[in-house]
């Protein structure tokens, strides 16, 4: 790649790349996103390359490894063009047949096709799949088109055209006006109007300003940012370039959490490529604009997703938040004006500039515009990434797109917004995904995590889980968070272990409200949300634990028992041998018994028993 010294050179390059792309023969797109990585796409990709090489097709068949497509439950995934043929649940052993049958003979392999759950029949093309068709895949569709390590792919499909348009036609104030008019609000959880943030930062005193991309996606159950940053890092870079132009910043940082090594690698590679092309550095595309980006790694701390803690971490210090009496747009990184935005927020910027503010604001509700990517996980059939217009009802996402509860169990609740959010019951499923609507109901859109729970999930245990998480991640500086969460956890643990007392529910409420008001940062302030929302909507579960000593979902270990049915047990000893805690006793051919004191309710014995003689109840 050579350096592009002017906008015209970029446009010429784009024209020739786009033409080459149109002329390309067979193209096989394989998803390399986080979900598919976990289900083994690397082996499939290796097998594919090897087979193509063997059959002398390496030069004529183009292989494109992209970021996440979103349909993670079906991975590893492959799409073959021409024909838009969609293969899923792939294994390396399928590859030779794909090459010989589909590539050579033009035949579709039935068993690798997706089965439509509604009709039961096989669907041949990606375009027919209901999971995709019901979404509004603005960002995810781009992931699908772009090789995650290639700047040329990105340019070919229109990449950096928004930057060119900005440098050619828009002054900084124009950009800010456009972003403000679009109604874009922060996608990291705060939902703060992006245009307003940029305007304040631009207006702040000082010449030295910074832009930061917050890629410290710490919400457990959320991986949207990972998908965008790994899959399409140039989209984020372009957004940061435009933002830096608007604010007057010359240096930017992408702060990636330590648990995402591949995102760090892809981001660093993208920065290198952009520098080589002259899209980062001095005199970008021949203009006066100078801007560079560095990629920094987190140290494994959820609290570093909080903006002041992130900035402290960038400065080489511990990630302890500081009071925000003075906003970071005025005094942020190194006490200089800083505009920090989430990955998905930055990713939307080039598209808004390219297509205009109205294109974005036409979608969504009055207060929440555009599309949002959600990570739909948990006890739902179609787990993966889902992109919909703001305002879409929860019900549509969970049932029409998500396919409803997994294993046929009824969905009981959905947890949105990660540890800062709350759990919403079934009668709230008509609520639209909208910043204000979900906040009013006691939850929040947050960064986009959406965890589905059914009757096998204990809501008190969920509250306990989040409290334990937040206690682990608390920086420990202030009393309400460090001590308050600890005491909330103490109480909720008491309840899950059968020691709960009725007056503790009122104490939980009061303590939760205190922490909300007095904690130093957003981690502490929102920590009580999971508890308070489950108390509001699932109080009956708390009361069952306290007054009846019963866990309705059969989860809380102190309140359930592992029992071997004497009649059904054949005394084979499989469970005894499998138990890691030595809790099962019995003679050969005699009914076995469980020592409840040693038993940890892990369920291994249940799996091992061929007679179905063991139950957890």
């Amino acid at each position: 790649m050579h350096e592009l010294a002017a906008i015209e050179e970029l446009e010429d390059l784009r024209t020739s790349l786009a033409a080459a792309r149109d002329r390309a023969g067979t193209t096989i797109t394989v998803c390399g996103g986080p979900g598919c990585q976990a289900s083994g796409c690397a082996a499939v990709i290796d097998a594919l390359r090897a087979e193509l090489h063997r059959e002398d097709l390496a030069d004529t068949v183009h292989v494109r490894i992209t970021g996440c497509h979103g349909f993670c439950e079906q991975g590893p995934i492959m799409v073959i063009e021409p024909g838009n043929i969609f293969y899923c649940h792939l294994q390396p052993s399928d590859v030779p047949e794909i090459v010989s049958s589909t590539l050579f003979d033009g035949e579709v392999i039935e068993r690798l096709l997706y089965t439509d759950p509604a009709s039961g029949s096989k669907l041949q093309t990606e375009a027919e799949i209901p999971f995709y068709r019901l979404q509004d895949r603005t960002l995810l569709a781009l992931n699908r088109q772009v090789d995650s390590s290639s700047i040329t792919d990105y340019i070919a499909v229109g990449g950096y055209s928004a930057l060119a348009k900005t440098l050619r036609e828009y002054g900084p104030e124009d950009v800010i006006r456009e972003i403000t008019r679009s109604g874009l609000r922060g996608r990291g959880g705060g939902g703060f109007p992006t245009g307003r943030k940029w305007a304040s930062c631009r207006a702040a005193a000082g010449d030295e300003k910074y832009v930061i991309c917050n890629a410290d996606e710490g919400d457990p159950g959320a991986y949207m940012d990972r998908a965008i940053l790994e899959g399409n890092p140039h989209l984020v870079l372009e957004g940061m370039l435009i933002g830096a132009w608007a604010i007057g910043a010359r240096q930017g940082y992408i702060y990636v959490r330590n648990e995402y090594p591949l995102a760090v690698t892809h981001a660093r590679a993208a920065v290198e490529q952009a520098r080589e092309c002259g899209l980062l550095g001095d005199s970008i595309l021949g203009s006066e604009f100078c801007f560079d980006v560095d990629v920094a790694r987190g140290g494994g701390a959820f609290v570093c997703g909080e903006s002041t803690a992130l900035m402290a971490s960038l400065e080489g210090k511990v990630g302890e938040p500081r009071p925000k009496d003075v906003h970071t747009v005025e005094e942020g990184l190194w006490n200089k004006p800083t505009a920090l935005n989430n990955v998905e927020t930055w990713a939307n910027v080039p598209l808004i500039v390219r297509n205009g503010a109205a294109w974005f604001s036409d979608k969504g509700t009055k207060g929440s515009k555009g599309t949002k990517i959600f990570a739909l996980t948990g006890r739902v059939k179609n787990t993966g990434l889902v992109e919909v217009a703001m305002g879409t009802p929860l019900r549509t996402i969970l049932f029409d797109i998500g396919g409803g509860g997994s294993d046929g169990a009824a969905i009981k609740a959905v947890q949105t917004g990660g540890p800062s959010g709350g759990c919403l019951p079934v009668d709230k499923f008509d609520l639209p995904v909208d910043f204000d609507a979900l906040a009013e109901a006691g939850s929040m859109v947050g960064s986009g995590g959406m965890v589905v729970m059914d009757e096998r999930t204990c809501m008190v245990d969920v509250a306990r889980y989040f409290l334990a998480f937040l206690q682990d991640e608390s920086c420990g500086k202030c009393v309400p968070c460090r001590v308050g969460i600890d005491r909330m956890l103490e109480i909720v643990t008491d309840i899950t272990e059968g020691r709960g007392r009725p007056e503790q529910l009122d104490l939980l409420q009061e303590l939760g409200e205190t922490i909300r008001e007095t904690a130093l940062c957003a981690l502490g302030k929102t920590a009580p949300n999971p508890v308070l929302s489950t108390l509001q909507y699932f109080r009956d579960e708390y009361e069952a634990h306290i007054s009846e000593g019963r866990c309705p979902a059969g989860v809380c270990r102190a309140l359930i028992e592992c029992v071997i049915d004497e009649e059904a047990c054949i005394g084979c000893g499989a469970c005894l041998r499998a138990c890691p805690h030595g809790a099962i006793h019995g003679e050969r051919k005699q009914p076995h018994t469980v020592d409840l004191d040693a038993c940890r309710r892990c369920g291994i014995c249940l799996d091992e028993c061929s007679q179905g003689a063991i139950v957890l109840k």
Binding site: G221, R226, E259, G299, A301, I604, D607
Partner: protein, 160 residues
């Protein structure tokens, strides 16, 4: 601990306190933990008070102040994995190995870590062993995986 390698890590970063976390990352990646002597050198060369270096190393989970085992087992404890049963898996492996999360077995073979989300949520419960991801884990699958590592002895599990 090689003074020469530490020198290479610090090269270009002297008197730059803001590089502390990157330096600690490189030390952790090289030796598998952050040795005490390295912190003293880093404090001197980067110009960060010793207590600050110690503070940062002890604050972030990425850094271990004690040597870790040959094989690192990471159990994801994220929400999606949790509702699919990550807790029994973590408990079971803790019981099998006789260590608490963060601890290393006395034979130095395994370190158990519980992480708060690896970002592979659709396929939980997820366990990572020596950098390789295993999806849809169950307590039974994990105990088998650990057995196979033990049997393989000093064989590189990445080839297995």
């Amino acid at each position: 601990m090689s003074a020469k390698t530490l020198d290479a890590i610090i090269e270009g970063r002297r008197s730059q306190p803001q590089q502390l976390i990157e330096v600690l990352h490189d030390v952790q990646d090289t030796w598998g933990y952050v040795p005490q002597e390295s912190m003293i050198t880093i404090s001197r060369e980067l110009g960060v008070p010793l207590i600050e270096v110690y503070r940062v190393a002890s604050f972030y989970k990425a850094f271990s102040l004690v040597p870790r085992g040959e094989h690192v087992i990471t159990v994801c404890m994220g929400t999606a994995c949790h509702v699919r049963g990550a807790a029994p898996i973590a408990e079971q492996v803790a019981g099998l190995l006789g260590v608490e999360p963060g601890g290393t077995t006395s034979d130095g073979l395994f370190t158990l870590e519980c992480v708060n989300c690896l970002g592979a949520c659709a396929l939980g419960p997820v366990v990572v062993l020596d950098g390789v991801y295993y999806d849809h884990m169950t307590p039974r699958k994990l105990s088998r995986l650990i057995d196979s590592v033990r049997k393989a002895g000093n064989e590189d599990t990445r080839d297995a």
